[in-house]
């Protein structure tokens, strides 16, 4: 591909998809004059039975879905090798599969991951992102009929990280996909969890949690394409923001096409503003082309602490600061509790507590 194509696609900030993003803080990820390191940066310590991995030359592995996202297009141009995880058909993988990101400080990186979940296979995948990085990634999950995949993606980045990512799931008949994205670090993080279906009876659950403090920009844009009949989707993202210029963006696009009769969808985004100077944008967007559906709904709320809750806790002797921590932990518990690892859950809550302490909340 020529660099011309890329140049043409570089966003100006006027595009709907980029209008919230601070383009001047992307550290060259969309700048074609900055080279991206393209070797694989995801490593598995050990793989449980039923799971295998290989590196495939990018030229030999076309992406499963097309994209219009400038960052993803750039990744696809830059990456030379793709990490491919195969989960063998019929295997019930007993332990979670762990992938850890290896970052190269000061170097812009591109990464492609493809996860194939075989027919009737069942697995949990945990991807952990830590440290300082400048990274654009393209992840594709392909779920064969009857399979089930739960992916937990943790962004526990250090303060300088810039991270653009596309997480696309293709879900076949009777398969169920659960994604849980936790973003509690980084300078700019912009993730695109997107879903398309391949057969009826399929379901997608997109859960997320973000916590932004001083100057952080954390953006999550879902797109669920109900392009088959009788599929289900649930979206639930919860965010808290504290500190000056803490910023979050949540976009929930759900498209129910004319052929998607029997669709059942609900999306929810709740934001808790813990201080002045923080801003949460929340844009649910439901486009419905057929009336023959089971249900379609959305809700979005952005609010401050509930004084009655804080009063109740304080009236039992609990100091205001601890009361606020309890309420925030309570607010997130619905999402965090889905991780299913006490160790990770505690680590995340402690990190949120620490960040709260730093901004004096």
């Amino acid at each position: 591909m020529s660099t011309l194509t890329t140049n043409y696609l570089v966003p100006t900030g006027r595009e709907e998809a980029w209008r919230f993003t601070p383009l001047n803080r992307l550290a060259g990820l969309l700048d074609s004059t900055v080279a991206l390191t393209s070797t694989n940066s995801l490593v598995a310590k050990s793989l449980p039975a039923g799971v295998s991995s290989k590196l495939v030359a990018a030229l030999d592995l076309a992406p499963m879905a097309t994209t219009l996202d400038a960052a993803t297009i750039r990744v696809r141009e830059a990456v030379t090798e793709v990490l491919v995880l195969d989960i063998a058909k019929d295997s019930e993988v007993s332990e979670p599969i762990h992938l850890n990101r290896v970052t190269i400080d000061g170097q812009a990186q591109a990464s492609r991951l493809l996860v194939n979940v075989g027919t009737n296979a069942k697995a949990v995948l945990i991807i952990e992102n830590q440290g300082n990085a400048v990274i654009a990634e393209d992840i594709e999950y392909v779920l064969a009929p009857g399979s089930s995949l739960k992916v937990i993606v943790l962004q526990e980045w250090d303060a300088k990280t810039v991270h653009l990512g596309s997480h696309h799931a293709i879900i076949d008949r009777d398969a169920s996909f659960t994604s849980l994205i936790v973003t509690v670090g980084g300078s700019v993080v912009r993730l695109l969890p997107t879903v398309e279906y391949r057969g009826p009876g399929s379901s997608a659950e997109l859960f997320g949690l973000y916590f932004a403090t001083d100057g952080q920009h954390l953006e999550h844009r879902m797109h669920v394409d109900h392009n088959v009949p009788n599929a289900k989707s649930r979206v639930n993202y919860k965010g808290a923001l504290s500190g000056d210029k803490a910023r979050s963006v949540w976009i929930g696009d759900v498209h129910i096409r004319a052929e998607a009769e029997g669709t059942d969808t609900y999306e929810l985004n709740r934001n808790l503003l813990l201080s002045d100077g923080a801003r949460a944008d929340s844009v649910p967007n439901l486009e419905i082309e057929t009336g023959e559906i089971v249900g379609a709904g959305h809700a979005s709320t952005t609010g401050r602490f509930d004084d009655e809750q804080l009063f109740y806790l304080s009236s039992r002797g609990i100091p205001a600061q601890i009361a606020r921590r309890l309420v925030i932990r309570g607010f997130f518990s619905e999402i965090i509790g889905k991780i299913g690892s006490q160790e990770i859950e505690e680590r995340l809550m402690n990190r949120i507590d620490d960040q709260l302490a730093k901004v004096g909340a």
């Binding site: 009063f311 109740y312 806790l313 009236s315 039992r316 002797g317 609990i318 601890i322 309890l326």
Partner: protein
């Protein structure tokens, strides 16, 4: 021996039309071991009195004083008041999503006692208190008041009373919404705390029913933001008979 002393307490709330005066000079002294019933018509300011003592931010104190053993309660933060020995069982207990009862109780007990209760004895203590209030053990794992029935919320308030062992407790319509068995169970809970700790009680109620279980030493009639009559237990029977007409038409 503790004394809660309320003197000429005046309280307003901020409304769209400005400040509205609700308490117009309340005088009341409650000592350890005493039970004071407060009865009065809807909207007369009973909950306002309870919340003002507990320190709810909605209410503005415009005059008077509240002291506990001489210490200025009104100068304390909400949590300091609880640590000083005040407890408010609320008329409408608040739901706190995502915070389990276990976690809440332990955090509260840690704050009030000044140190985390020993896990081994604590678990037993909670279990026993729940059992004596006929609360299913599964409530411990549920979120604070979330989805609790009216009666379950009230039992949960008295559970906290038993565990936090205050000096003075204000029970705001703890009897409302309780079935006959629950009323007895909850009353026994209050009496247990009284027997074990010489608790002083301000019992806000509309009904004499609960007073058959929790015997008041004094009954106060509350109307239009102040106490308008005081007497012994017989006053409650008179109120039940005649209502508040003679206090509200003046």
């Amino acid at each position: 021996m503790s004394t809660l002393e309320i003197k000429n307490l005046q309280v307003s709330v901020a409304t769209e039309k400005g400040f509205t005066e609700i308490l117009r000079g309340v005088d009341l002294t409650i000592k350890s071991g005493e039970t004071h019933a407060i009865m009065g018509p809807n909207g007369s300011g009973k909950s306002t009195l309870a919340y003002s003592i507990a320190g709810h931010p909605k209410y503005t104190i415009t005059g008077g004083s509240v002291t506990l053993d001489g210490a200025d309660v009104l100068a304390m933060t909400v949590d300091e008041r609880a640590k000083a020995g005040l407890f408010l069982a609320m008329q409408y207990p608040v739901e706190v999503p995502g915070v389990s009862v276990t976690n809440f109780l332990r955090t509260a007990a840690t704050a009030i006692r000044g140190e985390a209760p020993k896990l081994r004895t604590w678990v037993g203590e909670v279990k026993e208190a729940m059992a004596s209030l006929n609360m299913d053990a599964e409530f411990a794992e549920r979120n604070v008041n979330e989805g609790f029935s009216g009666g379950e919320k009230k039992r949960h308030e008295i559970l906290q009373l038993e565990l936090l062992k205050p000096k003075i407790a204000i029970l705001d319509e703890t009897d409302s919404g309780l079935d006959v068995d629950a009323l007895r169970i909850v009353s026994e809970g209050v009496n247990r705390v009284k027997a074990n700790s010489d608790l002083g009680v301000m019992l806000i109620t509309h009904y004499t029913r609960i007073l058959r279980y929790i015997k008041p030493d004094f009954v106060h009639v509350f109307a239009a933001g102040r106490i308008v009559e005081e007497g012994g237990p017989e006053l409650a029977d008179k109120l039940e008979d005649k209502g508040y007409a003679e206090y509200t038409t003046a």
